[in-house]
């Protein structure tokens, strides 16, 4: 296989930049969450790529597993907060949300 470490790092860099762009520019809170998932996935690709090419072996896989665990917990809590915001404001535009109680 001729595609080496740089190929995977390039893919993860592109994915990170797309996710960052989504997080910065979108107003909808759920779109921001989706951008966050892209960023976490790009970090995971790096962990696994270094696990194969950098001699980290299984330790890289375990770091990636913990990232997935944290992403699951974060998504659950964040969506609960988004539902609460929607009950209070009838929209989820994060630039107009400026208090947690009415």
């Amino acid at each position: 296989m001729t595609v080496g470490l740089e190929g995977y790092l390039a893919i993860s860099a592109i994915l990170f930049c797309l996710g960052l762009f989504g997080v910065i520019t979108r107003k909808n809170a759920i779109m921001v969450l989706m951008g966050l998932e892209l960023i976490l996935n790009s970090a995971n690709i790096n962990f696994v790529a270094f696990a194969k090419f950098g001699g980290m072996n299984i330790d890289g896989h375990i770091a990636a597993i913990f990232v997935i665990i944290l992403a699951a917990a974060e998504a659950a809590v964040a969506l609960a907060i988004v539902l609460n915001i929607f009950q209070n404001y009838k929209h989820v535009n994060i630039d107009e949300v400026d208090s947690l109680k009415e």
Partner: protein
């Protein structure tokens, strides 16, 4: 060995294309479904990197859990019947400056990655990674593993408490 390269480029194209749809699509439902293909592509890269357990975990947790949760969130916070499913972006100046900044960041990262002398040390080929992963989780990473389980319990309770309707 050429076929593995072709598979890599296929998954790379799938990831970049669908991630672009996630970020640039106006319809938030299209974004959520494009995220499905992005996550599948990442799972494919894991398979190419000999991470079989991680690929299955990715499909089960991300696609089976997080993506479903996000789609639920989209459906509960947008009016599907009305016109309000579109997702707004910030003003034009902010979008262009953010795009330029992100583009510069990406080009810098890729050029750094390409110009670094990486110490390549190929991992020994394993039949399956699940056995060493399980052994490491219960020896070297035991405290982190237990902390993660407590974190997940706290996240469940916290999410249920926050999302509960106050006045029934």
């Amino acid at each position: 060995m050429e076929i593995l390269d072709a598979v890599f480029y296929l998954f790379a194209l799938m990831i970049v294309g669908s991630a672009s749809v996630v970020v640039f699509s106006k319809n938030i439902m299209y974004s959520a479904f494009a995220l499905l293909f992005t996550l599948f592509g990442v799972a494919g890269l894991y398979v190419l990197l000999n991470a079989d357990f991680l690929a299955v975990t990715q499909i089960m947790i991300y696609i089976g859990g997080i993506l479903i949760l996000i789609i639920f969130g989209v459906m509960m916070t947008n009016k599907i019947r009305g016109v309000d499913i579109k997702t707004g972006v910030s003003g034009k100046v902010q979008v262009y400056s953010a795009g330029a900044a992100v583009l510069v960041l990406g080009i810098t990262m890729i050029s750094i990655f390409n110009n670094t002398e990486w110490l390549i040390k190929d991992a020994p080929a394993l039949d399956a990674t699940i056995k060493p992963i399980g052994r490491l989780l219960l020896t070297d990473y035991l405290i982190a593993f237990e902390a993660a389980s407590v974190l997940l319990l706290a996240a469940i309770i916290g999410a249920a408490m926050i999302a509960r309707r106050k006045k029934a």
